[in-house]
């Protein structure tokens, strides 16, 4: 599993990359009440705003961690945004991407480095 400084995790699964936010991020955001997902099939570039999540207090964006195509989104989060708080590292993934250039993930943090990053 890889981690970004934007508090996303990336997990490879059958040639696609599953993306979600970390436990730390979900705790910081607080109760998630709204999730807006991108359309499947959208081509995105790294750092594009692809997902909007809103907590009781504020709105935040999730950025595309790499270039590629959104091949699947987790529609269950639209009806149950609270899942992001309950299981951010598991069931509450946001989208799956087909990477344009998998080497973009090479420089990302592993779990130990991410833990150090969030202190």
């Amino acid at each position: 599993m890889k981690f970004t400084e934007e508090h996303e995790w990336l997990r490879e699964e059958d040639g696609v990359i599953v993306v979600g936010i970390t436990e730390h991020a979900s705790e910081q955001l607080g109760d998630i009440v709204f999730v807006e997902l991108p359309e499947e099939g959208t081509e995105v570039s790294k750092d594009d705003e692809v997902v909007v999540i809103e907590s009781v207090k504020a709105a935040s964006d999730i950025l595309a961690p790499i270039d590629g195509e959104i091949v699947e989104v987790n529609e269950a989060l639209v009806d149950e945004p609270g899942k992001v708080n309950d299981d951010p590292m598991g069931d509450a993934w946001f989208f799956k991407m087909k990477p344009a250039d998998p080497s973009q993930m090479d420089d990302m943090m592993d779990e130990a480095a991410y833990k150090k990053f969030i202190g």
């Binding site: 607080g30 109760d31 009440v33 709204f34 807006e36 809103e54 907590s55 009781v56 207090k57 639209v78």
Partner: protein, 375 residues
């Protein structure tokens, strides 16, 4: 933040908040708890049981002297002369343009008036009261040695009555002095959550014992500013600086109910407060815009600053959201804001522009959650 953090003031219960897991944030010059367990859980704990808030950052002021009620009426459009002993009322300082300088609670405590004002406005309010009242021989005392806490929710009465059964007999907006956990407390049956409950002014040194005693009772939870905001929003209550400010008139803000007959056109003490020309005219003829409740049709919250239009595409801007969030009790997004007279009727469909997209929203009554006051 950084450097300015050093200037933040701490309330008497700062250590207790930190020890109980609060996330502390800067708020109006104070370090305040925004949440402990989580905004949603704290919100629901208040609606279902009893939420305990520290609001010591707010300003407590005592006004004493002969003719204090008449003198105070020169600053506010409320009937203060007619406020009975042992009663409290919602009021606001107005300016010459008819805008609101701050909203406040004022109580008649027999030989003095007791005023509670917003934290961000304390200095200006105290200066305003000194300038207007001291020349009339009124003594203005800013009380800085007492904490202020609020116990709010359907469980509040049983919890507080367990410490002193006298508080159970209080009605909404009654005030009195009662011993609680060994301390002389100034208690009012009021709050800002839409729930029944109490606000309690307690000597600083006795605050921690009172709070830990209350927290030891079943159903009592600490609640931070995050849930205080979602609770007051669902209750349709204004946040000063956001929903009302120096440019909004009380009539526009839907606060006409708080201006008693005695101060209106034809009343016993008509006018005589700053901005009376505009405010009395608007009371008689109506305002050109109104604060209204707004129910977004989708799930996306519409927050402060969202522009409101009268059509899904094109059209004209007819207003703006001043407060908006997710309402945990409503179970969906709720908001309030100002719209033109033509767009203010209940049921009117408007569109709020969120992230470049227009989303439907319906003008609705306030509050979103019925008040639980014990009248």
């Amino acid at each position: 933040m950084g450097d300015t953090d050093n200037d933040l003031r701490r309330t008497p219960l700062y250590d207790l908040h930190v020890a109980r897991g609060a996330r502390m944030v800067p708020f109006a010059g104070w370090e305040m708890p925004v949440q402990y367990e989580g905004v949603m859980a704290e919100h629901n704990a208040t609606r279902d049981g009893a939420g305990l808030f520290e609001v010591s950052h707010m300003g407590q002021v005592i006004l004493r002297g002969e003719g204090v009620a008449e003198a105070f009426e020169a600053l506010v459009p409320q009937d203060i002369v007619g406020l009975a002993e042992g009663r409290q009322r919602y009021a606001f300082f107005t300016n010459d343009a008819g805008g609101i300088e701050d909203d406040l609670m004022v109580a008649n405590r027999g030989d003095h008036l007791y005023v509670v004002v917003n934290a961000a406005c304390v200095e200006a309010d105290v200066a305003r009261m000194r300038a207007a009242l001291e020349p009339k021989g009124i003594h203005v005392k800013h009380v800085t040695t007492r904490a202020l806490i609020a116990l709010q929710g359907p469980g509040a009465e049983a919890v507080l009555a367990d410490l002193n059964e006298d508080v159970a007999a209080m009605r909404f907006l009654d005030v009195g002095t009662h011993a609680l956990a060994g301390a002389e407390c100034w208690v009012s049956r009021s709050g800002y959550t839409g729930e029944d409950g109490y606000e309690i002014s307690v000597p600083e040194a006795a605050a921690e014992l009172l709070v830990t005693t209350l927290l030891g009772k079943p159903g009592v939870s600490l609640v931070g500013l995050g849930a205080r905001d979602s609770l007051r929003l669902e209750a349709g209550l204004c946040l000063y600086g956001q929903d009302i400010d120096s440019t909004t008139s009380p009539v526009e803000a839907g606060l006409s109910w708080a201006i008693q007959k005695a101060r209106r056109t034809g009343g016993a003490r008509e006018g005589g407060f700053p901005g009376a020309d505009r405010i009395l005219t608007e009371l008689d003829k109506g305002a050109s815009r109104h604060r209204v409740g707004l129910m977004p049709e989708g799930r996306a919250p519409m927050r402060t600053g969202v522009a409101l239009f009268d059509a899904e595409t094109g059209g004209a801007q007819v207003g703006e959201v001043t407060s908006g969030s997710f309402g945990p009790t409503v179970g969906g997004p709720v908001a309030m804001g100002y719209v033109t007279d033509a767009a203010a009727r209940k049921g009117t469909r408007l569109w709020g522009e969120v992230r470049g997209k227009r989303m439907a929203v319906t003008v609705s009554d306030l509050p979103f959650v019925p008040a639980g006051f014990k009248r």
